[in-house]
């Protein structure tokens, strides 16, 4: 018996060692670099810099304004990521619902179709959007040939949001769909029999039941879109730097300690946000049914 357990322990050993060495230890290094200076002695200067560094930006009307550089960028990342996540939910929820109602073969086909764009490199996807949305790009050519005025999208926040929505949309649809496909349809029928209208069924039965999928969809879109880099460099013409772009820039400039500090802040905030979401769902979704 003991011999058997030992065999299994031995099978587990390589991965245990690997995950300590290459998952946990590297995370500790983020903290170590974040709190030390170039000669590895303790400092808080990176955090002070992150929260207090200021720079001057020009407003549209020609006046200038003093802003907290990194705090502003961080808040912008959060804002754009939240908007994108919300749009993904707004677009993805009905699609997941439609999918779950379709015939099984159609469902499988739609699943594959949704996943196909994910199998194309995200750099190329983003670049393709850039060529579509350019001032002389395909979209504007189409608009012009239809008799509309050309519009300016590239280099605006809208373009960055479109890029984010496009890149992370499947991560929203798939978890919601997989919950809805498993949903007990008898509950919907029961609600109908008891006199619920379509809207009431959606609001009081389908939506609450699909919440776990919605929540995992939100986290799966929010986390990569908050931390993304490249999208805003290409689609925002570099005007709307996000926190990921700053980390990348500091890495390229070899300011590893400052890059680590920003990564550390990002990680702590994301962990806190996820804990809040988890606590909130447990408390209000599963715990507070009696209202």
């Amino acid at each position: 018996m003991n011999h058997k357990l030992n065999t299994y322990r031995l099978m587990l050993l390589p991965y245990s060692v690997w995950s300590v060495l290459f998952i946990l230890v590297p995370l500790a290094f983020v903290g170590y670099y974040a709190f030390t200076d170039d000669s590895f002695s303790f400092t808080l200067e990176h955090f002070t810099r992150f929260f207090t560094a200021t720079s001057t930006i020009a407003n549209d009307d020609g006046t200038t304004q003093e802003v907290r550089t990194y705090v502003l960028i961080f808040l912008r990342s959060v804002r754009l990521a939240c908007i994108s996540t919300f749009i993904c939910l707004l677009l993805g929820y009905p699609l997941a619902y439609i999918m779950s109602k379709a015939k099984e073969r159609t469902q499988n086909l739609m699943m594959t179709l949704i996943m196909i764009p994910m199998w194309m490199n995200f750099l190329i996807r983003t670049y393709a959007w850039m060529t579509i949305m350019q001032d002389t790009g395909i979209l504007n050519n189409i608009l012009e040939s239809l008799g509309f005025a050309r519009i300016r999208i590239i280099g605006t926040e809208t373009a960055v949001i479109i890029g984010m929505v496009y890149d992370y949309f499947p991560y929203m649809v798939l978890p919601i769909y997989s919950i809805m496909a498993k949903m007990d349809t008898r509950l919907v029928e029961a609600a109908r029999d008891l006199g619920c209208g379509s809207l009431a069924v959606l609001r009081r039965v389908i939506f609450p039941l699909s919440l776990p999928g919605v929540i995992s969809g939100i986290t799966m879109v929010l986390i990569p879109s908050i931390s993304t880099f490249y999208i805003s460099q290409k689609l925002g013409n570099g005007k709307f730097l996000l926190i990921g772009d700053v980390i990348e820039g500091q890495y390229v400039a070899n300011n590893l300690h400052f890059a680590a500090a920003i990564a550390f802040i990002l990680m702590v905030i994301l962990l806190a946000a996820m804990a809040v979401v988890k606590y909130g769902t447990e408390r209000y979704v599963y715990g507070g049914e009696s209202e």
């Binding site: 011999h3 058997k4 357990l5 065999t7 299994y8 322990r9 099978m11 587990l12 050993l13 390589p14 991965y15 690997w18 995950s19 290459f22 998952i23 946990l24 590297p26 995370l27 290094f29 983020v30 170590y32 670099y33 699609l95 439609i98 109602k101 379709a102 159609t106 739609m110 594959t112 179709l113 949704i114 196909i116 764009p117 199998w119 194309m120 490199n121 750099l123 190329i124 996807r125 670049y127 393709a128 060529t131 579509i132 395909i138 050519n141 496009y166 949309f169 986290t219 986390i223 990569p224 931390s227 880099f229 980390i247 990348e248 890495y251 590893l256 680590a260 990564a263 990002l266 996820m274």
Partner: protein, 274 residues
């Protein structure tokens, strides 16, 4: 489907496929433009085949993906078996939580964290450049492992637990029982996990970006470099080729899944007849 649903689905899919269609069409463009189509030609595909550096990066990407897949599949499968058999033990629960970290952490943090460690260790041993193929391989194995484990674990849980017990009662060692009884049962999970690991490794840019060095360039990193300058339809030709390669992998995966489903159904039918 109702008319409204159909229209809605069509619009969403049009949005999802717009960039792909654009890329496919313009990869055959005769001119250098990425927005005006002037005629059909294969010239960008020809140019691609003459581009030594890109072909080299394709080779690098494949070497890396195959190595990372092989290592993570073997290690991940062994780990999944260990986790399943020893479940309930404190270190298994801890290990499962640790496995979730690379999946939930943003890529950029995984990449930065590994890079910092490599640079630190490299400085400690006095190496001139600490980032290379090997650091990238470690990084890829690290982010592939959870995918393998999470594909294999459910197969182990679904399996009839009496089977390996019976084999061992009949004199098999646990290891022999594993190879003779369990491995064939969980093989579909291993294959799906391996394919996922492979495609993840092929496609990864962010983590690779932070952990590569010493001139080792994979395809996504090369594409990143190319998009910093003006891009020609050559990149679209490349993307089209990658697209069809990953598509065929996806189809293979679906075939494996379908086989499984059919097998299950046949098994059920046999029981039904009995």
């Amino acid at each position: 489907m109702k008319i409204g649903s159909k229209i809605y689905t069509t619009i969403v899919f049009a949005f999802l496929f717009a960039p792909i269609v654009v890329m496919l069409i313009y990869s055959f463009n005769d001119s250098k433009s990425l927005s005006v189509f002037s005629g059909f030609s294969m010239r960008w595909y020809k140019e691609l085949l003459n581009d030594r550096n890109t072909l080299e990066s394709v080779k690098n990407t494949l070497i890396l993906a195959f190595s990372a897949t092989a290592i993570s599949t073997v290690m991940g499968t062994a780990a999944a078996v260990g986790i399943e058999k020893l479940r309930g033990k404190w270190y298994c629960r801890t290990l499962k939580t640790v496995t979730d970290i690379p999946m939930t952490n943003p890529d950029i943090i995984t990449g930065i964290s590994l890079m910092l460690m490599f640079v630190f260790v490299g400085r400690l041993v006095g190496a001139r450049t600490s980032l290379s193929f090997w650091t990238m391989l470690i990084a890829h194995v690290t982010f592939c492992l959870p995918y393998v484990i999470l594909q294999v674990l459910p197969k182990l849980q679904q399996m009839d637990k009496a089977l390996p017990e019976a084999a061992m009662d009949l004199g098999c060692t646990p290891l022999r029982a594993f190879f003779k009884v369990e491995l064939p049962e969980i093989l579909p999970g291993i294959i799906t996990g391996a394919i996922m690991a492979f495609t993840m490794s092929l496609d990864d840019f962010v983590i690779s970006y932070f952990t590569t060095g010493n001139g080792f360039e994979t395809l996504p990193i090369r594409i990143y470099g190319m998009t910093k300058k003006t891009v020609t339809p050559k990149m679209y030709a490349l993307a089209t080729l990658i697209f069809f390669t990953t598509m065929s992998l996806l189809i293979v995966r679906n075939l494996v899944d379908n086989d499984q489903r059919r097998e299950k159904k046949e098994k059920k039918d046999i029981y039904a007849i009995k």
